[in-house]
Symmetry: C2
Subunit: 320 residues, 2 copies
Amino acid sequence: MLGRKLAERLAREGAIAGARVSQMSLVDVVEPALPDGATFRVDALVADVADAGVAADLVSSRPDVIFHLAAVLSGEAEAEFEKGYRVNLDGTRFLLDAVRRVGSGYRPRVVFASSIAVFGAPFPDAIGDDFHATPLTSYGTQKAMGELLLSDYSRRGFLDGVGVRLPTICVRPGEANRAASGFFSSIIREPLNNEEAVLPVPEDVRHWFASPRAAVDFLLHAAAIESAAVGDRRCLTMPGVSETVAGQIAALQSVAGDAPVRLIRREHDETIMRIVAGWPGRFDARRALALGFRAEADFEEIVRVYVEDELGGRIGGKES
Amino acid sequence: MLGRKLAERLAREGAIAGARVSQMSLVDVVEPALPDGATFRVDALVADVADAGVAADLVSSRPDVIFHLAAVLSGEAEAEFEKGYRVNLDGTRFLLDAVRRVGSGYRPRVVFASSIAVFGAPFPDAIGDDFHATPLTSYGTQKAMGELLLSDYSRRGFLDGVGVRLPTICVRPGEANRAASGFFSSIIREPLNNEEAVLPVPEDVRHWFASPRAAVDFLLHAAAIESAAVGDRRCLTMPGVSETVAGQIAALQSVAGDAPVRLIRREHDETIMRIVAGWPGRFDARRALALGFRAEADFEEIVRVYVEDELGGRIGGKES
């Protein structure tokens, strides 16, 4: 989803890090959708970076910027232990090693999509930039390991990495995915589309959010910032909105009225509650803010971004 | 070195974690020395845990306790990039995966020797237990990745891991090794043995130390502590002694007089200075202290432990 939105945005803008895009290759394990309106060449390739040799092929054209978003998400990485390590750890390592092996001064900006799942409870009230990564999921473990590789390979001069720890992306468009965090989006998205949604956790659960639009902003800004400004600590917690489920629902009501809220059905799920209990609720993301990363101001803005970007500004057929 | 001392100690005591030892297997890439006086069976095996199939063989006898100390040290891991990742990351992962694959309820205590090299500058004055791991060496990166694996595999119930972040071990007996930290020992050891030593860094460099005897204590205590007391965060910064090089030299003088101190020759080494500049000087290791881990009280005690354990209590032929 983020990859598609990023490709659409690049096709529309035609530039990245202040330079014109001359070519873009989209790679996914399923056929990537080609964005409309690109004024440069766009290739789409079906391949798994965790398969032998794939990464070397991908970097042989020496792209200036590589966005590494490929991942098995949290729910699936928890359910399928070996698959999660293969895709999220080995895939990342293969890609970084392929870049390293090009050599000859090739040192692309590699933007790595990490996650706040690298953190695990217990937490301070607001998690600072120097708080340790003690993930409570295999997904978070794999992302934390990818961050370590990215920093070491950058320090060694093999590449120029920037890792962005994405907040939970909300409101995700389209179908529910296998992330354990999926309900944070579905309790907003389904009601706005006149469908019922299931809320599997209590309303006092607090979490850290940014819209898909903000996430694409993060990735593009990470491609553009000066390497020296990042220093040796290549991975950054992104800014976001700290909100409870109750606050999410209040924002939905504020934007769209009472009717959508009535479509949220409470049905506690112990597995999801257990996973979510280990997740963070609030960050003090001052390093990223100082480097110019920006998210929404509150959850109401996140709901409005969904209505604008996915519903053409209309709720139930009316202008919002 | 630590493995040998640990084996000697186990042979002498015949017990671990309150239980009698029935069998011990020593594994190293070079022929391990058999300890004297064991009242139980001891095997010595030459094998590389980073080679395919080796780890599965090693765990097939289902040992109750596994000490994983095998590592390429910091200087070598920095000089030989691929070897460091193969031994320190892949070797660790192969071992943990081999334990996981035994299944059938097998869940040994795995004691993992990690290192304060998982931390990288800049630091607060005293590094707390929740400070982030941002290593500035490939060795530290590999150890931090091993820690993440250990915690995830423990959380998933595949094993019962405890990671101990060892201080720099000082005074190391025997020959200089390829660790960048080797001089911290040699400036004490060589003068006490009437030999010249080279000091490659300024005297105001502060670092974090424990004796080999304390390190063996850490490993044995890590084998014995209750899993529930450790919780989900399986890796612990060990207590130690914070001291400057000047303080090390003062302790040497206090224990052994002026003559050994005159054998220290200053010769700055830019590579070692750069590596050491990223290393920590002081920790607040309260989690480990609360769990009963103990180190020396000061550097003078560390020097005396060396004299007792390695020189038979005698300096220059005289009782210390």
